[in-house]
C-alpha cells in the first residue's frame, strides 16, 4: 500500500459458496508459509481472511479475493483484497464497531480483522459494492 511496494505473486479466488472461503484460507496459508510468518502470525492472517471472505459471501452476495505476497525492498508481507458488487455499507463507522452486526453474526469480522492485520482499508458505495484491503508485514 506504500509507493514502492511491489507484488511478487498474486492469485484471484472467486467466492460464491462457503467452501470457497475454505479455499481462500488454505491459499492464504500457503502464501503465509512462503513469506515465513511465525505460526501465530500465520494464524492471524488466515483468520482475517476467513472473516473477510465470509463477509464477501454473506453480506456482499459473493465476489472474489485477490491475495498476494508484497515486498517493499526491506520486508515482505501479505496483502489481501476482498471485493464484491453487493449492497455496500451505508455507515462504515457503525460497521467497524465491535459487536455490530446487521445479521446474526458476532460483529467482529471487520473490527477484528483490523486488529489482526497491520493495514486496513475499506471502501464501499451503497448499491455498488465493497472492497476491503488488508496487509500484514513480516
Amino acid at each position: 500500500m506504500t509507493g514502492e511496494t511491489t507484488v511478487r505473486k498474486a492469485e484471484t479466488i472467486p467466492i460464491a459458496e462457503s467452501n470457497d472461503v475454505v479455499r481462500v484460507r488454505q491459499q492464504v496459508r500457503v502464501l503465509a508459509l512462503e513469506v515465513g510468518f511465525s505460526l501465530v502470525d500465520q494464524t492471524k492472517v488466515v483468520t482475517a481472511a476467513s472473516e473477510l471472505g465470509r463477509n464477501t459471501l454473506e453480506h456482499g452476495h459473493g465476489g472474489h479475493a485477490e491475495i498476494s505476497i508484497i515486498d517493499n525492498g526491506v520486508k515482505r508481507g501479505i496483502k489481501m483484497s476482498f471485493r464484491d458488487n453487493g449492497p455496500g455499507i451505508a455507515d462504515i463507522a457503525l460497521a467497524m464497531t465491535d459487536g455490530y452486526t446487521s445479521g446474526k453474526g458476532m460483529g467482529l469480522g471487520l473490527s477484528g480483522s483490523k486488529r489482526l492485520m497491520n493495514e486496513f482499508e475499506l471502501t464501499s458505495e451503497v448499491g455498488v459494492g465493497t472492497t476491503v484491503t488488508v496487509a500484514r508485514w513480516k
Binding site: S18, R25, T43, R54, L108
Partner: protein, 133 residues
C-alpha cells in the same frame, strides 16, 4: 451429505474436528450434536479441536451455541486442545467464548466431565435421602 462423526462412549459424546470446516458443516455438527444429546440423554460432550488451525468468529459462535444448547439439555460441554496460536488470535479478534469450558487435552477434558457427572450424582443422592424423599 458431508458430516463430522459423533462418537458415543457411555454417557459422553466425543467429537474430533479434523477438517477445515466450512460454515455449513459447522451448522450441521451443531444440529447433529443437539439432537443426539437429547436422544441418548448424554451427560457430557467433549469437542477436540486440536487439529483446527483457526477458530474464527463463526466457529467460535458455533462452539458457544453447542455449549449453551447442551446446558439446556442438562449436559456439560468441554472443548479441548485449542492450539496456543489459535487462542492468541481469538483474543485479538475479540472473541471470549463465554460459557465454554476448555481443557488442555482429551484426558483432562474427560476427567472434567467425569468429575462434573459425579458431583451431580452426589447431589441426586442427597436429594434421595432428604426427609422429603
Amino acid at each position: 451429505m458431508e458430516r463430522i462423526p459423533i462418537l458415543r462412549i457411555g454417557t459422553f459424546l466425543l467429537v474430533t474436528i479434523q477438517v477445515d470446516m466450512h460454515d455449513q458443516l459447522a451448522l450441521t455438527l451443531q444440529e447433529d450434536l443437539t439432537s443426539m444429546i437429547a436422544r441418548v440423554s448424554a451427560g457430557g460432550v467433549l469437542i477436540d479441536i486440536s487439529s483446527l488451525e483457526i477458530v474464527d468468529s463463526f466457529i467460535g459462535r458455533t462452539l458457544a451455541n453447542i455449549a449453551s444448547m447442551a446446558r439446556v439439555l442438562d449436559a456439560t460441554t468441554v472443548v479441548v486442545g485449542m492450539q496456543p496460536a489459535v487462542a492468541i488470535t481469538l483474543v485479538e479478534l475479540g472473541m471470549s467464548l463465554p460459557g465454554i469450558r476448555t481443557a488442555l487435552n482429551v484426558e483432562s477434558g474427560m476427567q472434567y466431565l467425569r468429575d462434573t457427572l459425579a458431583d451431580r450424582e452426589d447431589e441426586d443422592d442427597w436429594r434421595d435421602y432428604s426427609p422429603q424423599g
